[in-house]
Amino acid sequence: MASLLEDLVQYIITAGLATQSGQDIWYDFDPDEPAAVVVLNEYDSRLSSSTGNDAGVRYVQITARNLQPTQAKNKAWLLYRLFLRPEDNITTLPNGRWCVMSPRQMPIKIRVDEKKRIVYGFNVAITTNFD
């Protein structure tokens, strides 16, 4: 099984919100170029009390960077809608991994980087299997 972040990258590409991993979408790494990128980071996890021993809640930050503030914001919102699923609704990712996705807030402006590029993002709690 691929890692959760690899599976989520494929989920985003399949939805048409990015084209290729390592080009306009990355995980665990924030590339200096290109300016317009989507970046995923897994930053925390906890065991789930309700789904058995081989599953847990994993927390992922999803950001969209762009030189144009409106494009960064719009991309973050499109990603947010992709991850916004009815509560307790199981989503199956392209490679077959099951998960329950719950965004923790709507997209917010996170920072302006040293090259004046705008970063919007949000966090999502994902109940799923271990890798």
Binding site: D30, N41, Y43, D44, R46, L47, S49, Y59, Q61, R104, I108, K109, I110, R111, G121, N123
Partner: protein, 147 residues
Amino acid sequence: MRKDSITIQMDKASVNLVIKNMNSVRSGVVLGGLAGVDAIADRVYDKAGNTCPTSSGTLKSTLYKESEVSGDVISVNIGHGGKYDKVNPATGESADSYAVEVHESFKISPENRAKGATWKWLEKAFNSELTTAEKELANSIRAALGG
């Protein structure tokens, strides 16, 4: 009285006693809930303070915890800035203006990492309590009700 009916008579004083007891249960649940929530929030606050990255120390110094009970709703807010905001003497910026950026950016300096600081220190401190919070709250309410 009809043969196939049952008449239940309730003594008004007894009904009033039941209502009085139920009200004391309600206040006990709120008090026990508040004690439980406060204990959990104290640990979140301490963990967040211990893992907040520091440079000048301004952001860390604006960390706050506020509890509130409104009717049956207990809430605790833990965060930075707001009415506790301060200006960073090194940069002239208010903590409010950069708190989100620091919290949500994973580029933590090696010095801070060595001290145990982390990005998303508030969220991680909160997440670390979630698995046991429900049981702890139940125990606190049970204790307040004399169970």
